[in-house]
Amino acid sequence: MFAQKRLQKELHNIHNYLPPGIGIASASDLSIWKMDIQVLDTNPLYADQIYRLQFKFSQSYPIEAPEVTFVKEDGIEIPMHPHIYSNGVICLDLLGKNWSPVQNVESVCMSIQSMLTSNTKNERPPGDDNFVRSGYRSPRNINFVYDDDTV
């Protein structure tokens, strides 16, 4: 299939090279990958922490954006960020309306990494409690308002 071939290519590239601070945790099948990311500079919010991203690919990848969320696993937390809900849902235009097939797993990881690096606010998005309680797991069903270009 379309998605599988492309993912195989990406996996092949990733095994050859990955930018510093980004690693592959698991990619056992071609529908869910887990990637580890680390903030490299001395941002006190994320120092010495490793975070885990989960990529869910549909059959229409890369035409359709993957579902990318942070996941909580043993010893791995969800990073504090004004655009990241405490259930791991990420509000990033790149993963929604600004997705294009030119993006790939590596570039998404790098975007999220830099989103963390540049952040200074130790806070969750407004309405985090309600959002988490309402049980949205899939970012696809959410119409985020990308109103804040500063973070």
Binding site: F2, K5, R6, K9, E10, S60, P62, I63, E64, K97, S100, P101, V102, Q103, N104
Partner: protein, 440 residues
């Protein structure tokens, strides 16, 4: 679906095979830059595709990689792909399979927000041009799709508007029949003698305007215009001739003046008292600066009415069953006549009071008229139902104002007598009686 709507549109569909087809059958293809506004494409001469040109040959490089499926030309040497020919649609380094690009574009077209945007290379943001067969049906469908979106809101507004118009007209007809009685109403609506009915502009405008005027006449907004309106609507058939009692047309024409005179009199003689008592009901002198109707505090009031006394006796505990009166709720009742003091149209419960009161008014007037009709003396002086109704309406306003004023007076008096009770385990009955007595 809309980037296809550029003035002259086509696309880069022309592959080697397709291109030759377009040469032989040029009429089938329109020469247009699909995405583009013509301006931007004109700036870049290379972007305008001459009708019979083929798409420029792509320099083959084995390292070329499709930016969508990530397959390279080298891969295709090993395994054939079904993604179509290679395309290099923009000035940057991105190359792609035609099939991949078309899939991507179809996906973009799914979202309505992208309908009117040209397709851009995600890397260099230059427009990607396509050539496609021109189809009148597709163009038509697209423009319908676009316009339906736009028309819907207009249609909804228009629909609600006409529903409102019809309701208002029916209300107007009802009000006229209620107030004027069948005979006069027929004369007004159907014309003299009930024959030669014509749907004139007076009816078309006048009838639906009735509820609006009723509402507005409870405010100051139209004070200047109201006296003129009846002249326009009723005094067109015959010249004035004074009779006693005056004809409906003249009565109606005079009503706004009566209203103004009454208001002036009320404002001169009664308004000071009205204001004084309203102020007394309000919080206190300390908070007088705030609006009287802003009594948002919840005050627990121990009302000592007979019924409650019985209850108290039965329960033997006054405090536990002291009814709670919300001053806020009372403010609503005050609001009903607050228009005399502050006759501004404000949104809120007062507005609802005002509108509902105004719309019910014809019904009230008719029943007052009906009551008056039961009195033989009045029936003798005013044989027409219409005149009894008008008299009834005036009486109603008068009674209502007097009652409202009296009610305010009593409330102000009650307020002055109010005192807070100390907590008692058991309310001694005598004391309760004493308080009640004082209030009377």
């Amino acid at each position: 679906m809309s980037h296809l709507q550029a003035p002259r549109s086509t696309s880069w569909r022309a592959a080697s095979g397709v291109a030759s087809e377009s040469e032989t059958d040029a009429g089938k293809y329109s020469d247009a830059t699909l995405t583009a506004n013509e301006d931007s494409s004109a700036e870049e001469p290379g972007l305008l595709i001459p009708l019979k040109s083929q798409s420029p040959p792509v320099v083959e490089d084995e390292d070329d990689k499709c930016w969508i499926c990530f397959e390279s030309r080298a891969d295709e040497l090993i395994e054939s792909s079904n993604h179509g020919v290679w395309r290099k649609p923009c000035k940057c380094a991105l190359t792609a399979h035609e099939g991949c690009l078309l899939d991507w574009i179809s996906d973009l077209e799914k979202t309505p927000s992208s309908m009117n945007k040209p397709i851009q290379c995600p890397q260099c943001k230059s427009n990607i041009l396509l050539r496609q067969e021109r189809s009148t049906i597709v163009e038509l469908g697209k423009s319908i799709e676009r316009n339906v979106r736009r028309t819907n809101s207009v249609a909804i507004v228009a629909g609600l508007g006409s529903a409102f118009f019809v309701t208002s007209t029916v209300y107007g007809v009802n009000a006229i029949y209620l107030i004027c009685g069948t005979k006069e109403a027929n004369a007004i609506i159907l014309g003299p003698g009930g024959r030669d009915f014509q749907w004139t502009w007076r009816l078309a405008v006048g009838l639906p305007v009735i509820p609006l005027i009723l509402v507005v006449s409870r405010t100051r907004l139209l004070d200047a215009t109201l006296p003129i309106l009846p002249l326009i609507f009723f005094c067109h058939t015959e010249p004035f001739h004074l009779t006693l009692p005056p004809s409906p047309a003249i009565t109606l024409a005079l009503l706004p003046y009566v209203r103004s005179i009454y208001e002036a009199a009320y404002n001169k003689f009664l308004l000071p008292w009205d204001k004084k008592w309203t102020t007394e009901i309000g919080p206190t002198a300390a908070t007088l600066a705030t609006d009287d109707n802003d009594v948002g505090l919840e005050i627990q009031v121990v009302e000592m009415d007979e019924n409650e006394e019985e209850e108290e006796v039965a329960n033997g505990n006054a405090d536990a069953h002291a009814p709670v009166a919300h001053a806020g709720a009372d403010a609503g009742a005050e609001g009903q006549d607050a228009w005399r003091v502050e006759r501004e149209l404000v949104l809120g419960p007062e507005t609802a009071n005002l509108v509902v009161g105004a719309l019910l008014f014809p019904g009230v007037v008719a029943s007052m008229g009906g009551l008056l009709g039961k009195i033989p003396f009045i029936r003798k002086i005013l044989p027409e139902r219409f005149h009894r109704n008008i008299l009834g309406g005036c009486l109603f306003v008068l009674i209502k104002d007097i009652f409202t004023l009296y009610y305010k007076y009593k409330r102000a008096k009650q307020r002055r007598s109010r005192e807070i009770l100390n907590y008692q385990k058991r309310a001694p009955r005598r004391e309760a009686n004493a308080t009640t007595g004082m209030r009377r």
